[in-house]
């Protein structure tokens, strides 16, 4: 048919649509065969699952292996040395499970915290322009990434922490107290800090050359030495200076033994707060709330007007300064429970077990190596044009990193970072090899062996790790979504 205008075309279309009224729009019959296969597969999977469960249960019952969860309420009969909650040999297996769970959560949370900090630091260091720093960071990453975690844990536990002395010959840590620095220390220290600062500022303005190199290295060095002199005073040079002396630093050491280090743990004084601390906690909480409000307000102000304030510093000061003032005014209502040698070990104080410390150290350093590489990848993924543009705007290197590069790098960093957090949580189960009573060691080790309920115990342990990992990844995904680029 020839073209007779749009009207005729449309009529044609309508006719053809009407012609095909008996067929669905796709033109194909309903996929009955596909549906049949899917139902069959679903039925097969459900049947397999059912068979597995009933088969296991029947066989276990035939062998008189317990199939229920009544072991949960049985008396455990064994002790655990590190518990965050109260526990004794007459507690139930369920309570032992809680002890293992809290131990795992503590080491995982602490591990995640330290691994992130160290990882970010090493990752950024690896991109430094300072050749030695970059190579050291690279060596750290390569060494720790390529050796098995278990070997590292055993290294920290056996080769390092076990070499500490016996409790009867503990290393005593001298007690430290704050004092007014002496006149000589004040002059020398402050002078060095000011000189270093001037050098750093000077090095930024000039074009280059040997003087600038010297200034850039000596400036921070001088400032650092000045700070050390101010803080430690004469003890740096070897002669202890008492308070009031001309050479006294801000921290004075006395001969009292307030902390101990030995192969059974790190003992520190445990603060015992008196009633007067309630006011201090209240002021601290109020200060914290005020700091948060200030931080958010200052951020909005910066976006609106472009004027910057040192947000973090002022927030910290708002949190702690009023509380510290109230603390001093109340007469410092805190006593210390000191560790004292008693019998075989030390009693009292706050004890950090070598098993916990070895596990934390091993996990953090190992995972930090992986996080360092992720951070480096994220930073390198930000287009170089961003750095150059920020430089053209006149921002300093630290500001470029903090304000421009890292926020964009976070989009690339966060998903693999979640992986590393999950790895760390699951790797904490290696605590079994160094005697740290985590969930696997206590529950899937001792409780399983004492009760014989292997299937139930392992199922619960796996479910718990699954829950922890899912919670972590949900949290990280929420954060990721906030960071994501909103694309059209």
């Amino acid at each position: 048919m020839q073209d007779k205008g749009p009207g005729r075309e449309q009529q044609h279309c309508i006719m053809t649509v009407q012609d095909s009224a008996e067929l669905p729009p796709s033109g194909k019959p309903f996929n009955w065969r596909g549906l049949f296969w899917q139902c069959l597969l679903m039925a097969a999977i459900l049947w397999l699952g059912y068979e597995a469960v009933t088969n296991a249960r029947d066989n276990m019952q035939a062998r008189n292996i317990p199939t229920d969860f009544s072991f949960w309420f049985g008396t455990s009969g064994f002790d655990i040395n590190q518990t965050l909650i109260s526990y004794s040999a007459v507690s139930t297996h369920g309570r032992a499970f809680l002890v293992g769970l809290t131990n795992t959560l503590v080491v995982a949370a602490a591990g995640v915290f330290f691994a992130t900090i160290i990882g970010f630091g090493v990752g950024i260091a690896r991109l430094s322009h300072n050749w030695i720093v970059a190579k050291l960071a690279a060596a750290y990453v390569e060494l720790l990434r390529n050796t098995p975690l278990l070997l590292q844990l055993l290294f920290w536990y056996n080769a390092v922490l076990k070499q500490l002395p016996h409790p009867r010959r503990s290393l005593a840590l001298p007690s430290a107290s704050l004092q007014m620095p002496g006149a000589a220390t004040l002059v020398a220290g402050l002078g060095a800090i000011v000189a270093g600062y001037v050098l750093i500022r000077f090095s930024r303005r000039d074009a280059g050359g040997i003087w600038q190199l010297l200034a850039r290295t000596c400036g921070p060095l001088l400032a650092g030495v000045g700070a050390l002199m101010l803080i430690f005073g004469g003890t740096l040079a070897g002669f202890p200076a008492a308070a009031g002396d001309a050479f006294a630093g801000m921290i004075g050491f006395s001969s009292g033994q307030y902390g101990f280090l030995n192969n059974r743990g790190f003992y520190l004084p445990y603060p015992v707060f008196a009633g007067g601390m309630n006011r201090v906690w209240l002021v601290l909480a109020l200060g914290f709330a005020a700091a948060i409000i200030f931080y958010l307000w200052a951020g909005r102000r910066q976006l609106r007007t472009g004027q910057q304030l040192p947000r973090a510093g002022i927030a910290l000061a708002l949190t702690f300064a009023p509380a510290a003032l109230v603390f001093w005014l109340s007469g410092a209502p805190v006593g210390f429970d000191l560790p004292k040698p008693r019998g075989f070990n030390l009693a009292g104080g706050w004890r950090i077990y070598p098993e916990f410390f070895a596990l934390l150290l091993g996990l953090s350093l190992y995972t930090a190596a992986f996080i360092a590489e992720i951070v480096r990848a994220g930073i390198l993924a930000v287009p170089k044009g961003q750095t150059e543009a920020a430089g053209a705007l006149g921002l300093r290197r630290q500001s470029i990193l903090k304000l421009v590069v890292i926020p964009q790098a976070m989009r690339v960093i966060v998903p693999p970072l979640t992986n590393q957090y999950l790895n760390l949580t699951k790797n904490s189960s290696l605590a079994v090899f160094i005697g740290y009573p985590d969930l696997v060691q206590v529950f899937a080790g001792t409780v399983l062996n004492q009760t014989g309920a292997a299937v139930q115990v392992i199922a619960i342990t796996m479910a718990v790790y699954l829950a922890i990992s899912l919670a972590t990844s949900v949290g990280m995904n929420l954060y990721n979504r906030r960071m994501a680029l909103v694309e059209r």
């Binding site: 048919m1 020839q2 073209d3 205008g5 749009p6 075309e9 044609h12 279309c13 053809t16 012609d19 095909s20 033109g27 065969r33 049949f36 296969w37 069959l40 097969a44 276990m60 035939a62 062998r63 008189n64 292996i65 317990p66 009969g77 064994f78 002790d79 655990i80 040395n81 040999a89 007459v90 056996n158 076990k162 016996h166 192969n263 059974r264 008693r342 019998g343 075989f344 070990n345 009693a347 070598p354 079994v432 090899f433 160094i434 005697g435 009573p437 060691q441 080790g445 001792t446 399983l448 062996n449 004492q450 009760t451 014989g452 292997a454």
Partner: protein, 379 residues
Amino acid sequence: MNGRDMSWLVRSTGGQREKLNVRSKQAREGDKMKILTSYATAIAVTAALAMTPAIAQGSKSKTLDAVKKRGVLSCGVNTGLAGFSMPVKGKWAGLDVDLCRAVSAAIFNDPNKIKFIPLNAKDRFTALQTGEIDVLSRNGTWTMTREANLGLMWAGVNYYDGQGFMVRKGLVTSALELSQASICVQQGTTTERNLADYFRSKNMKYEPVTFASLNEAIDAYKGGRCDAYTTDASGLYAVRLRLPDPSKHIVLPQIISKEPLGPAVRQGDDVWLNIVKWTHFAMINAEELGVTQKNIDAKLKSKDPATRRLVGVEGDFGKSLGLTKDWAYRIIKHVGNYGESFERNVGMGSPLKITRGLNALWNHPDDKKRGLMYAPPIR
């Protein structure tokens, strides 16, 4: 032109659609056959899966049949406990190992047809429950919970022991002075619970340092992480040998528990239980009757009825166990009697030098040296 001439499209699709609908009758029949065959295969596969064949067991002892078929006895032992089960120059030796060798000799007439599987305290019962091993001869304590709750059965006691403490010489002289001490212990053993019970009953506090494997526990004690190491007394003597300077460590006199050590098998196979049990009893009866590895051939000509029944000259006691007539002869010939095994592994002929004590025969001629080893008669 205002509109495009789409009539060609309509025509072509209409034509195509008509073409799709028009298939030859043969083609449509073929389609139907394909669909029917696919349904039929689906139903056949489901039916085949559903009819999981149940393997009928007609023989008396499933475990014995499996062992004979496999050709080796699968024996669960310790990772390395001197005197009980430890590889010495590549060959496993010990009191528990000897029991496994005796069972193997009874079945195969060869004490070396064994696959030794070293197990930690944590995994030993699971290995037995799941069938990975046929017999667990790993200085395991016979307790009610283990028999009632784990689906296992003990086939006797081959060593009567008790739990004790080892400390460095000069530290303390009695377990009652161990208040506030750190004590190394292996995880998942009766030791852990006995330790808790003892300190609770004496109202003392202590710090348990638990490890999954024996080696780590010993390392921790060696390194000074703990003041005392606790396990069965026989184990203490064995562990002391492994320390760099054994004379600097002492075993405290207090024995704080009953630890009847013996081999374990799975519940549900009574004939296999009997095999292991009577192997052990044969060794004790042999010592009672004075039959040794050296003189057993001479004893074949003995006139004593009990000896004749033991060596298989009279009666056929092995038959109902699925073994041969000379089952006990094989055991004594290849491994020796209980006394010989004891002396060789943990007694005066070994570095451990443990006295018979509770493990002496019940009818030792010297009143003061009588022990608990008593076997039912073979008749």
